[in-house]
Amino acid sequence: MGHLIGLRLRLLLLLALLPVTGAALAQAERGELQIKATFLYKFGGFVDWPPGAFSAPDSAVTIGVIGADALAAELERVAAGRNVQGRPVGVRRLKRNESLAGLHVLFVGQGETARLDEILQEAKGRPLLVVTESERSQPRGSMINFVTVEDRVRFDIALAPAERGNLRISARLLAVARKVITG
């Protein structure tokens, strides 16, 4: 009997987890793209934006994506209906030279590697969490940089750009970073 109940509970639990699990299961197939998308919106939970970054207490955390259309699509899917710090998550695909105003997170994909520095320069000093995916090294002005270690998606964190952007990154996030660049 106890065993039966246990089994049923487990099944229920699995069902409850399905929305997450559905995305997670896709990760195995769609690989790092999905992981990065998930990480991207989840970073928001570990970052404190300065007051005034949000127009209202319930306004969305807006994630701008540039140079990574596939990821943007995945992100839209993953983040749909999710909350970060009690706020809904919005995704915006940015075109070239589009303003960064109103964004809270900016992801610069490898499709814009060439213009990376320019974009980062643009973002500099804004209360904007800048995330990049550079395998070589942490680009100047990038706060979080995805790297692949042993086939797993990890990330490094640079604290100086975040401080300049008046962002506070939670120590708990730092704890799970591969590397924290403090200089």
Partner: protein
């Protein structure tokens, strides 16, 4: 519990003290234990839940960002909690991504379960979901020592020690108390034994305490005094009684002696009397017999005178001779009667079956023969029988019927009835007449010799007849009595056997 009903009072007191102490201790310890174990269980659960919450929070980023290394580090921090046997982190997909076990051989549930903790054997096992931004990001699994058995054992150990120490203390402390209780009792007991052995009621129990036992000692002493007094009284009365008994014995001895003396005297007198009586009767018989000779001579010669010279005698002297003859004949009759009386008194009583009716008819016929001119209606009942001496019974009937005949001499129609009354024990014969009768005031003199109620002129007689009847009846063991009124006739009753075998009747 048996020892409470056996054993000495000391043991019982000790048993009561130890049992109460034990019961109180067991109850207190049981309650404490129950309370503590409950607390322990709750606090253990709460502790583990907190632990799981902390671990979950610490590992939330690791789970969020799938950082196995960090998750593992977090989990392994539980090394510093020796209570924790095993811990594991499951990610949102239910996959175990980090685990720690004190015992390397430990196994983990393959899938996380719902929130909650439970006891499994001697462990507390439970799961705690990690929620971040309203999203389940993983589950913590914890298994920790419940330690209930150890705690229970520890408690039991402490309990045993406490109980042992308490009982020891109770024992040690109660010893002097018990002695204080039992010493006065033992003192009373010793006095009681001594009193019983020595029968010394002057002994007194010492009052050693002011409690119930003290009162017992007082009551015991009062009882001793009472017993002593009662015993003294009893002994005194015993002495009196002994004296009385011996006095009574002496008196009885005296009475016996007097009785014996009296008896011997009576025997002596009786034999003297019998001798005198026999002599008297012999004398009487001899005198009567010898008197008849001269009397016959007087009578005969008076007759001869009348026959030979009667005519020559002067007319006025002839009646003298006639008177002499009548007197001598009367005297002869008197002598005859005396002889009869004497005869019925002597000789052996020879009982036989007698036809009383026949005998009564013969007696009546004889009387009729003697006086043929009398008209007397004699009624004799049929088939009357008696066990009697025929000769004596006939003499009695002759007297009674003769009296009736005689005293009806002046009646207009003389009637005589001879019958019997049958009682249960004996039968009584009666002779009834309608003659002169007599005054019952003189009934007492009736049966004495020479007593006559009527003058010799009216009814001639010697006054010996009824005495003879009485003698005869008495010799048969019976009784004779009479009932009469002057001028209304008389009834004479007589029985020939005792009313009761041992009883004696008659005057």
């Amino acid at each position: 519990m048996r020892f409470l009903f056996q054993g000495t009072l000391l043991q019982k007191l000790l048993g009561v003290v130890l049992l109460s102490a034990l019961a109180a201790l067991l109850l207190a310890m049981g309650a404490m234990l129950a309370y503590d174990l409950r607390q322990y269980r709750e606090s253990g659960f709460a502790d583990l839940a907190t632990q799981a919450e902390l671990l979950g929070r610490a590992s939330a980023p690791a789970l969020t960002f799938d950082d196995v290394r960090d998750a593992q580090e977090s989990v392994e921090l539980l090394r510093y909690r020796p209570r924790v046997q095993a811990a594991a982190l499951y990610n949102a997909r239910g996959k175990r991504i980090a685990s720690y076990a004190r015992d390397p051989a430990a196994t983990f549930p393959t899938l996380p379960e719902s929130d909650g903790f439970r006891v499994e054997g001697d462990s507390v096992v439970g799961f705690k979901r990690i929620v971040d931004d309203r999203e389940i990001i993983g589950t913590v699994y914890l298994r920790a020592d419940y330690g209930l058995h150890d705690r229970l054992l520890g408690y039991l150990g402490i309990g045993a020690v406490v109980i042992f120490a308490s009982l020891l203390a109770a024992y040690v402390l109660s010893r002097p108390l018990q002695r204080a209780l039992t010493r006065p009792l033992l003192a009373i007991t010793e006095v009681a034994i001594e009193v019983t052995e020595k029968r010394n009621f002057a002994l007194r129990a010492e009052k050693l305490s002011n409690d119930e036992i003290g009162r017992l000692a007082e009551a015991f002493n009062t009882m001793l005094a009472e017993i002593g007094r009662a015993t003294r009284e009893l002994e005194a009365s015993n002495r009196d009684l002994g004296r009385e008994v011996s006095e009574r014995g002496r008196a009885e001895e005296e009475i016996r002696r007097l009785n014996a003396e009296l008896e011997s005297r009576v025997k002596e007198r009786t034999s003297q009397l019998e001798y005198t009586n026999a002599e008297l009767e012999a004398f009487c018989y001899t005198v009567s017999h010898d008197l008849r000779g001269p009397l016959r001579a007087i009578d005969g010669f008076s007759q001869a005178l009348i026959d030979d010279v009667g005519d020559a005698l002067p007319a006025e002297t002839k009646p003298y001779l006639t008177r002499i003859r009548a007197a001598t004949q009367r005297m002869g009759q008197l002598i005859e009667d005396l002889l009869n009386l004497s005869r019925v008194s002597r000789g052996e009583l020879q009982r036989a079956d007698v036809d009383v009716s026949e005998m009564a008819r013969q007696v009546a016929a004889d009387l009729q023969l003697r006086e043929p001119e009398r008209q007397v209606e004699v009624k004799v009942w049929d088939s009357m029988r008696a066990d009697a001496d025929a000769r004596l019974l006939r003499a009695a009937l002759e007297n009674l019927v003769g009296n009736a005949w005689k005293f009806t001499g002046k009646a207009a129609r003389a009637e005589i009835e001879i019958g019997e009354m049958r009682g249960e024990l004996r039968r009584v014969f009666f002779v009834r007449d309608n003659g002169a009768g007599f005054d019952m005031a003189y009934a007492g003199k009736l049966f004495a010799a020479f007593q006559r109620l009527h003058s010799g002129n009216d009814y001639p007689g010697t006054g010996i007849g009824l005495a003879t009847v009485q003698r005869i009846v008495q010799r048969h063991g019976g009784r004779v009595w009479a009932d009469s009124k002057p001028g209304r006739g008389a009834v004479f009753y007589f029985s020939l056997e005792p009313a009761e075998p041992a009883a004696k009747f008659g005057t």
